[in-house]
Symmetry: C2
Amino acid sequence: MVWNQARRAARMNPSIIREILKVTEKPGILSMAGGLPSADTFPVDALKAACDRVLSQAPREALQYAASEGFAPLREWVAARVATLGMQVKPDQVLITSGSQQGLDLVGKILCDAGAPVAVETPTYLGALQAFTPFEPLFTSLASDAEGPLPEAIAALPHDAPGTRFSYLLPNYQNPTGRVMGAKRRAEVVEASRRAGVPIVEDNPYGDLWFDEPPPAALSSLWPEGSLYLGSFSKVLTPGFRLGYLIAPPELYPKLLQAKQAADLHTPGFNQRVVHEVIRNGFLDDHIPSIRALYKANRDAMAEALQAYLPPGCEWQSPQGGMFFWIRLPAGLDAMALLPQAVEAGIAYVPGAAFYAHQPDARTLRLSFVTLTPDLIKEGVEKLGRLLHEALSLATEHAP
Amino acid sequence: MVWNQARRAARMNPSIIREILKVTEKPGILSMAGGLPSADTFPVDALKAACDRVLSQAPREALQYAASEGFAPLREWVAARVATLGMQVKPDQVLITSGSQQGLDLVGKILCDAGAPVAVETPTYLGALQAFTPFEPLFTSLASDAEGPLPEAIAALPHDAPGTRFSYLLPNYQNPTGRVMGAKRRAEVVEASRRAGVPIVEDNPYGDLWFDEPPPAALSSLWPEGSLYLGSFSKVLTPGFRLGYLIAPPELYPKLLQAKQAADLHTPGFNQRVVHEVIRNGFLDDHIPSIRALYKANRDAMAEALQAYLPPGCEWQSPQGGMFFWIRLPAGLDAMALLPQAVEAGIAYVPGAAFYAHQPDARTLRLSFVTLTPDLIKEGVEKLGRLLHEALSLATEHAP
């Protein structure tokens, strides 16, 4: 035993997401597990042309070390873009990150202390739990309904020292549940947060992926000084470039910037310039609607298949955007316990238990509807339905 | 005051490196400050062709989410490459990172605890101090000479609980001093580390940049189970792609991988594939010697200029590789205090004080010889010499 590991290392456990991504690499598996955008939406030609232009026009700058804040024109683009969500932001509040996962890591580093409470939705994004956990916060699970966290749960957050550091909220087509927070709920949540003195970390990777109408204004637009906002290019362009951004109140920006520099000096300048080159002239105005149309058709295909094949007693709501259905199985079934049989049958999903900070609901599971084509969605859900019917009849046989 | 920041945020201070990079962006400054590789060495055409090939041949894979460990063929390439440094490594010990700065952040996360000692050279790489500091280690400065840390300083490291977590060592053309550790010293340092039970984190960004003869075998080759190795593509290809790697003993790899996933899910798959496409068929065998030749000529130009223009009493050694001269000024001069006048005079350097964990030597400064051309190096050093001559005569006038 040469190495003496840090106390926080003991809290870090093998990731279910990562293990599942491995399963889905097996050929022949119909995976509805990973949160992978459809590769059909990647703008390959536009990216190829942009790589070429950047390396022709500014190779010395694109390939050199660069500023930790990010590429200035991209920061300006982001500041202008979030104005469409009601946010009034200056470019110097924008920090370009290596995916919004890195934004979560930086937030953890700057705001979490061992034993200080951090509030999360029930359930919440697994990657956020993983990002915050090394900094040893005390998670508080906010009681939540079909619109997200309840304002009264926020009002009841611990405010004695050390105080609740922040609430981590995903108002738009949340991962994993797909739920969206309505305008009235947003106002109530912000008001409760303001009264309780608990700031908001708002994560919005899916906001552009609405199907029939855009979501209400960002929480950050309602309480700018008390909100920190995370955005991403992963779901509207490509995750393989690892580009996201943080928008921080001026009070927090300098520390986040220092944490960013210590973490990786800066996000690849080449990637920032290529993405800026693609999007600078309104590319997304045409591109995002094409993603919405594709995902909406997939959502419809999965909704129809679930209706057709899942046994009675299963519960779900049809998501109004994003990438996921959230299914609750009938009593007696355990999604984690069934996963090996599912993989055996040639399908994969994510057991919902992974998304809870406390008291996991073993009957839940997450299905992505954007990775497979409608035909394969139908085939996958049919297999899932067969598996659940069998499991249910077994459970009934063994019931007392 | 809505936001309550983490205890560790108070330890993070504005970075001198970043502030200086800003100064060097001013037009007309002859900067010998930044550790920027020469942009003349960036293989623009090879990268352009590789971007095109990757986006033609594997766009869906290159633009999708990918495994946290890194792109398998690149990990295999790294494992084969470090065999030339005497290291016997399996590909599954290789973790691709977003620059080797991220490797330092992951090491800090996994190995540092508040108050647990971490040993560093005197002086050491500023970016490592920044990466480890948020995790609140107790830095121990190892007494060092022209070859690096003294074996007896390692033997004397605290080994009572919590024990020294690791020594952070840069044996090849160290940043900031440019010094290299000889073969005998390496053996002694490893032997002392083994006896003291203090593992080694070996950082080797500059090892390929030798001028007359390659450096001795890596420390990690002498004590594989007690060493963690960091490598980088920043100095031999391009820093703008942010690609580095960690090589870890099997005991540590799983935790580093979990920390990596929490930090940014994975390093951009596109960047990994492009770099692999460039280097897979021996590209570096021709490319690196051309960097060496360029940097050696620059080293010679700076050595000559220093000899010609610096006042008596300045001390330096001509580096045998890497990117930096380390200068010690005559008594009475303070490199930090002189920096504003230097910038006024149109030049920039890094005051050496930034590179010490304790008791900074205010008379030291670091000069990069790879960013400017030989003509501009001469011009910059001449200006530096004039400034130092003036400062010296002022110091003498005011001497008691």
